[in-house]
Amino acid sequence: MLNNSPYVRKPASVSRVMLKVLAALVPAIAVYVWQFGPAILIQLALASATALVCEAAMLKLRGKPLALYLSDLSAIVTAWLIALAFPPLAPWWLVVTGTAFAIVVAKHLYGGLGQNTFNPAMVAYCVMIVAFPSLMSQWPGDLSMQAAALAEHAQVFPDGPAMVLDAITSATPLDALRTGLRAAGATVSSVSADPASFGQVAGRGWEWIALAYLAGGLFLIQQRVITWHIPASFIAALSVIAGAFWLADSTHYASPLFHLAAGGSMLGAFFIFTDPVSACTTPRGKLIYAAAAALLVYLIRVFGAYPDGVAFATLLMNILVPLIDMKTQPPVFGHKN
């Protein structure tokens, strides 16, 4: 085409955007390895390989250009998010099946890159936690690091000694808190005094990973990969909601800081809710989307049956995105009357 202005373009590309997201995840992965051993690296590799194979197969089936879409790294981002959201001790086929489901069903059957209504990584998480609830709840607990790391290696592969599992896994702090609070006379402080699961403010080890997600997220904002709207709105809303319950009854409701540092809050705030494809695009829409997601996360965590609410909150909010986007279109220039 002759007239295709603008004739200069920002040297931006989808692969650059995705590469920055991957880079922003690296600090969290490093902390993960430091806290829980290198098993996560195996999960990351498994997920990445599965994602690439599935992506290539689907692109071929759909008759799309392989090189253009394989090199955009979007499948790798999905894979990494799945690996980071799944328990590191989960058997190898869990992460492989989850990743395959994410790429084949949640991404390509919905129309491929840019067309998926739901966040593929979170679809994988929800499908797997519904199908294999016990396997999806085995998280590394005690921190005698070497032992845990050894055991993890053994566990990732199918013929590892099964009995090691019980010895080294425990509930997540969110789970532990909810179950602990069911006991008569239990309070937040009595439950969270257990050093096996709890650290300074939230889950032992997990709070450091959350901090690394925060750092990576700030990098993404600085790089203009994401805008401040979704993380800020999510963090503010979660703090306000958790804060209200905590102020009303601090013996039965954990502090806002706990909720921010626990579970997938930080991963969600900067990497999941900000997934451009399935999130809102208007500035006001982003604020509403993230605040509503924070409310759902809190309700599912505190009153629901699942260990964390980020995945379900994401999918529920994804449904509302087109509606929110259309209702929050920015004022068009010259139409303010």
Partner: protein
């Protein structure tokens, strides 16, 4: 001259736009040079918005520089003058800068090298001329908007007078990358620009001049401030560098905080925007009597050996300008008439410089960076970039699905086709082309609808007329019948009366 500064809050709240690499150097650092005379000048009759000019010379005629060769073609139009002395060799189709690469009628002038002017009527103090006189002389000089829009300036002046304009805004933003012709003009001819602005001010009855210059042109700002010093009504304002700052409504909003209504004109909020190049041309026309025969053009791009700003005669082919700047180092990937964001891609290097040509660019492959478009990832960069607050990704998705009406509902008509969205898109989706296509399609649909409406109206009018005529005929018929019956009845009554009389007589 009190200094006007953009309030930081206003800068903060107006977050639209993009920041392309400016690529203004080396051209912006070098003096404007005269381009000289090429072998042939081709002057299209439509170098402005509105009706084409009407040729008043004949093939073979010798003309002098500044001589009228085509007169105003209508209410909104502009005359055309010979850019140098020479012979008219043809009046024929020629390539012109046109988005669809169409040709247009052009006057072909072969320069004789003497560059002989017609006698010029200079005016030592043009500021003493009447408003009417200023406006008439601007019209006679063939001046149009020099920023690229090419709207006849005189029409804009009289428009300003009707709409009670209080502020004349001088657009010195030059937000397009690569271009530095306005920058150089402001640095080298600031006095002339300020004088021109004061003349326009007088012609429109406005009371102040606000000249907005982007902060990436500090030398131009300094020169303009110095030149404006004696005049309390002229304010030079530094504005943030971003694209598209030079769009008139965006400039007005940044300078005054006022948002001109989308369904009206900028003049409705009491503002008239003119480019600095236009002010310069107005000064030349009134002070020296020179009609518009040349303009400053930035010749730049990675494929050009020695980029530079040149003073170019209208009608000069692009190839001549590239030669004048040391030739092309590498075969250009793209040649553009105008700026790289909103300019027109050309294929034929014979394409001439016209009144609105601010730049002639030969871009190398690395600068163009054309790559296959991939799928939209809904990153929202385009939403942030859009200066009018549209949702380009949603509009493109609807146009892609051929739901043009829906695209219109969410604001297609307000799109400036400035290209900020297309510039920033990481998936390299040709968003501007989507919008241009949809706009064109909707325009032709509405033309068709209008045609059908007219046909319907005419048919209905005809049917109504036939019916009315039939009714009138019937009424006349009925009236005549009634009259006839009345007459018969009267006759019968008279007969009866006569018969009765006879009877009584008998």
């Amino acid at each position: 001259m009190p200094t006007i500064v953009i309030p930081p809050l206003r800068r903060l709240l107006q977050r639209w736009g993009v920041h392309p690499d400016s690529h203004k150097y080396p051209a912006a650092g070098l003096d404007i040079e005269d381009a000289g005379l090429p072998d042939m000048l081709r002057l299209p009759l439509s170098q402005h918005v509105g009706a084409p000019a009407k040729v008043i010379v004949e093939v073979g005629e010798r003309v002098l520089r500044g001589q009228l060769i085509a007169s105003t073609g209508g209410k909104i139009s502009a005359p055309l003058h010979a850019p140098t002395s020479g012979t008219i060799v043809a009046i024929d189709e020629a390539v012109v800068p046109h988005p669809a690469a169409l040709t247009d009628v052009a006057i072909h002038l072969r320069p004789d090298g003497l560059d002989e002017w017609i006698p010029l009527k200079s005016e030592l103090y043009p500021i003493n001329l009447s408003e009417r006189e200023i406006s008439d002389r601007v019209e006679d000089a063939g001046i149009v908007g020099m920023g690229g829009a090419s709207f006849p300036s005189a029409v804009k002046l009289s428009l300003g007078h009707r709409s009670k304009v209080t502020t004349l805004m001088l657009n010195g933003s030059e937000c397009e990358p690569y271009l530095s012709c306005d920058d150089r003009l402001m640095q080298e001819n600031a006095h002339a620009i300020i004088e021109g602005a004061r003349l326009i001010l007088k012609a429109t009855g406005a009371t102040r001049v606000l000249a907005g210059i982007e902060d990436n042109k500090p030398e131009a700002i300094l020169a303009m401030k110095l030149a404006a010093k004696p005049f309390p009504e002229v304010h030079i304002v530094k504005i943030p560098s971003r694209y598209p700052m030079g769009a008139d409504r965006q400039l007005i909003k940044m300078l005054t905080g006022i948002e001109a209504p989308a369904d009206g004109r900028a003049a409705d909020v009491g503002v008239l925007v003119h480019n600095v190049g236009t002010a310069y041309a107005v000064y030349r026309a009134l002070r020296y009597g020179e009609p518009l025969t040349e303009r400053v053009v930035t010749v730049a791009g990675g494929a050009v050996s020695a980029p530079r700003n040149l003073r170019v005669r209208l009608g000069t082919p692009m190839a001549y300008l590239f030669e004048r700047c040391g030739g092309l180092r590498v075969p250009p990937a793209r040649v553009v008439s105008g700026g790289p964001m909103m300019g027109i891609g050309v294929q034929n290097l014979d394409t001439p410089v016209v009144k609105g040509t601010s730049g002639v660019l030969a871009l190398a492959a690395a600068e163009v960076g054309e790559r296959e478009a991939s799928a939209c990832i809904r990153c929202g960069s385009c939403v942030e970039a859009c200066p009018v607050g549209l949702l380009p990704l949603e509009m493109a998705a609807r146009i892609h699905a051929n739901a043009l009406g829906e695209a219109e509902e969410i604001g297609l008509d307000d799109c400036l086709t400035c290209g900020a969205c297309g510039f920033i898109c990481p998936s390299r989706i040709p968003l501007v082309q989507y919008f241009q296509h949809a706009k064109g399609e909707l325009a032709s649909r509405s033309r068709e609808q209008k045609r059908l409406d007219t046909i319907k109206e005419l048919t209905e009018a005809k049917a109504a007329r036939i019916e009315r005529e039939a009714r009138e005929k019937a009424e006349i018929h009925a009236r005549r019948k009634a009259e006839r019956e009345r007459a018969q009845a009267a006759e019968a009554a008279a007969k009866a009366a006569r018969a009765a009389e006879k009877e009584t007589e008998a």
